[in-house]
Symmetry: D2
Subunit: 343 residues, 4 copies
């Protein structure tokens, strides 16, 4: 059994790790820490575990964490940056669900996260954990930067087009929609049910932290500079993310459907839907799957690519577990076999 | 008092007309018809009216309709086409909330609605009832084609830009989102709560009936051909519509915010939000207002315009009443004074 | 025009007063105060008012409040207790939407609200503002204690039965359900969309502050001691309240339907539904109506009474305006003509 | 591997069987039938299975069903009644998720379901499959009548009290609340999102088909006649069921909490929450667990018992699989290890 430690387990990605790992046959959650909740039973905070777990929140510096094989950081930015190194030195693998090791350029990190990046050496060795893109590097990583949710959905949607150089990279439009759980579990007037239910809006139009991550990732995929317009929106639902991408095809005659199907035919977690099918977030709810649909627009050479994931699974905790499976040489879908919760 | 008749009153636009007209100080609903429900009390079907109305559904050919000053058609397409003429001949004004008189070209109508247009003469005299654009023609109309919801939100969002020739008209992207009430009140597996709640998806990607209406309307506004990519999405909420438009500015230095504010400074129902503000559908819920926000994107010369309406009010029954007010020389906001229902 | 002041206008009952008063033909909102938001435009906080109001939050001690005819307190408990007296001395009417003057017994107040009641004289002159029960006293009141939402729905549901001494008062069961807006607008993890959406639970089982208010009110109605089991539940929706009451009929043969219809035949805002009809909260959404249905259970002599209101309207701001209308001799439904928002 | 056949797989209990069995390690779904959809790929109807299943709907009389070890009927009432016998004669176990074999008295069946019961012999041998109550009989059953959702939640909530004869059985009040999925997947105006979202109501007050099932089951548990008032309500959410039971304790001093904890200490799927804790449906969402909380009311000797399940899992497909596990001597939680989906 692989011993797992979770640092910062009181948010939604923390409890989602617990939920998914609960049915993982080769993993034992040895410890979960929370500075504020240390000493409290985990099932007091998350009664979905009542009767199923005797875990108690420990302090983040509890020695039990040093006995783990892998540590998941499910913490606000800055925490993993300061604390990942100590685990790695002890030979413990680290998977950071936060943003501390996603941006290669420490200045970009400081610009977007308002914090100086103090761990350049670690940053240099971190592997960006988009499983379907960086699988080989992930196998040998010591430190994995688990991608953001929007970047995951967008990269999977564009990878086949970029790999085959089929689109104009200077004017990509990404109109993105996320459920509210992406905003976290902290007390916040802006995400009260009465403030966001029965409503729809864009947000972060002036600048969202996933913007530089997406540009960097697409730039690395293509080897070119990317022109990106990225507008996230908030959907009145708990889970789920849909991205609708508008790109210009360089060659209007290419069989885009086949390109997508070919690209993902061996990927367990990415499903290309049939011609004319449109992905719905509910079909991947509570699962690690990504479903993609492509459609040519009637005017001009616009292509519309739509991709859906569960922001808490493939967009966070599920992909983190997928990366752990890769890291430890296990079947990639262990603990992640569940299909979407429908209805 | 103006005597109003409603034909086809069992759907959502019908009951919304009843709700709004209930507080209109100069209107009396004289009759509401439904072939299937004739004889039933209206408050049996819509208990929000219990104790407040003694209306009974009449047959569509009931003579009482001939005593009305204005008839609203809230019917499936085809019905107004066949029946509007008889009222107009009797000097009764007709406002069609459906699509029968929106498309100027009868072939386009047949192509998108699968029905031959049999009333070319009527079609030629119909006035497209987007109040803020065609106010003068509406004043003297006999037959008003009330616009679709998406076309309303999009035209109001683009009018200032088109009027000042500020954008490239060949590649407009309209990423649109609607609440479920737009799909109507008929029994339909696809819009069951369990099928659409807690989910998000695009629909009609291959072709939506509002597409030709939008192209025609923007073409008339600009005098040019329009290149349009239009992708509607379904939001898990009852009411509300948001459109996010991506357009290329011809001159990146223009003060777009001022252009919008100037354009709408005298319009009661269109509000341009301050710099950096983003419209939310809830702020116009159950009201006739449209709120608009504009934002330049960081890359290239993309401009993002966001516009929200309540699809059942400004997108249907409210605009129909606004048009009636214009038609009868009343204050344009009579019966439409309500602000958004928040929360 | 009656000049209205609102103290504590940043919560849901505050903005609901603004919404309803916006269409009240004989009222002008002269001032709205908020200690924390003083100086901010009201439409910055509540964009539903954008373009429709130039109100700016004032300080609670702004002199403009002294020029008002009536002050609404929409504040946490304790505030009206300390500040109502000064207005009343100046001849200004006060309507408290909070709980400070609802409980006649100052010890009960201290027990349930954890605060000593310092204003016994005011408390003695306060009139409990359930319009349909205390209309005559309201007409001459200087200080009105606007009822809680659960107490309003329950009293209206039981008034006919108690007035005719038809039920056993020693074992009333009130199973109550409320939308989330009843929990207020403060930042609170417990009412995040992700915590309460797609879920249902009881709360306050060990003791809810409306419990003593209900017992007192039913006791005053009946002149007897009341045995009450009161269990509130949280419904995943914004607005609306349903109470299902289980009572034992003393005489199984009484025509309960007629008793209810007779009792409310002259009440504008209370509608008794027909035999076998069940009230739905949506039918009164955003309106000041209460709808009631009654049904005998198959076993024993149990009667089931169901009553629905919008907790923010008849359960708070709407009833406050109804009371203001009574107080100033206006038509009771002025500004409250809107029917339920359906769908 | 146990070979499973599902008859009538196009509804919510059908797809829920598919979801749960997808991760069951000892089961293979050999066939799923639908008369109307025969020949269609299952993942066309349920895209949550896209890429994960090649199942195709077969006809209900397809020979492949005869090769199965167990057949689940997920059909409207009447279908299992007519077709179960043929499978049983071939030695195939049958689990009926419908109501055909729940009521022991064929006249009661006819009264509530409007259909003559033609299979008295089968009815006599059917075992009522509430796993925690009838486990021993289930082990040897050939035909299992899987309980209804309300009856399941209510029986689990009352079993400890009835077993210890602690309550008055003549006046039980069951105020019950269900998510909308209980109403099924058929096209139905009454369960459109726009009809039930943002609303709450009672339904079936005059008589619900689970009423005789509950009375029969509690009668068998207690050996006495039951007086029951049962009012179901519809909650605007997809999944989840909460029942709040009001009963009179015969002895006010009994330690009810201990009675419950003792009763369920060895039951994997029933969790008694700590003193003062209240169950929330979300904590068991998508899981087979039942969580129960008990609380004495302040007045009189009323006890409040609250119980939550997922209506589609413990209330239908999950319990059916639990029964299958018992029937085939497997661990009772195989394929049912998932904890609640939170958030």
């Amino acid at each position: 059994m692989i011993k797992v430690g979770i640092i910062g387990g009181t948010g939604y990605t923390g409890v989602e790790l617990l939920r998914l790992l609960h049915t993982h046959p080769k993993v034992q959650v040895a410890a979960i820490s929370s500075r504020s909740e240390a000493g409290q039973r985990v099932d007091e905070m998350f009664p979905s575990l009542a009767g199923q777990s005797d875990l108690v929140f420990s302090l983040p510096d509890d020695a039990i964490l040093d006995t783990c094989d892998v540590i998941f950081f499910a913490t606000p930015h800055g925490v993993a940056m300061e604390n990942a190194g100590a685990f790695i030195e002890k030979g413990i693998k680290v998977i950071d669900l936060g943003a501390d090791f996603r941006l290669n350029d420490k200045d970009e990190y400081q610009k977007w996260y308002g914090l100086e990046h103090t761990q350049e050496t670690l940053l240099a060795q971190a592997v960006y954990g988009l499983s379907e893109i960086n699988r080989e590097q992930i196998k040998n990583a010591n430190l994995i930067a688990n991608p953001g949710c929007y970047p995951t959905a967008i990269q999977l949607a564009l990878k086949p087009l970029i790999a085959h150089k089929l689109i104009d990279l200077s004017a990509i439009v990404a109109d993105c929609k996320s459920g509210v759980s992406g905003a976290g579990r902290g007390a916040n007037q802006a995400t009260l049910l009465c403030e966001v239910s029965e409503s729809f809006k864009a947000y972060g139009v002036g600048g969202h932290r996933h913007y530089p991550e997406i540009k960097q990732a697409l730039g690395l995929l293509s080897g070119e500079n990317i022109g990106l317009t990225f507008v996230p929106h908030l959907v009145p639902m708990i889970r789920g993310m849909e991205v609708t991408l508008y790109v210009d095809l360089l060659d209007a005659d290419v069989d885009v459907q086949s390109v997508f199907e070919q690209c993902y035919k061996n990927e367990h977690f990415v499903t290309v839907l049939g011609v004319g099918k449109v992905p719905e977030t509910r079909n991947v709810k509570a699962s690690n799957f990504c479903q993609i649909g492509v459609q040519k627009a009637p005017d001009g050479n616009k292509l519309v690519v739509m991709s859906v994931i569960d922001n808490l699974v493939k967009g966070a905790s599920g992909q983190a577990i997928q990366n752990m499976n890769i890291l430890f040489g296990m079947d990639e879908d262990l603990g992640l076999e569940q299909i979407g919760l429908l209805p």
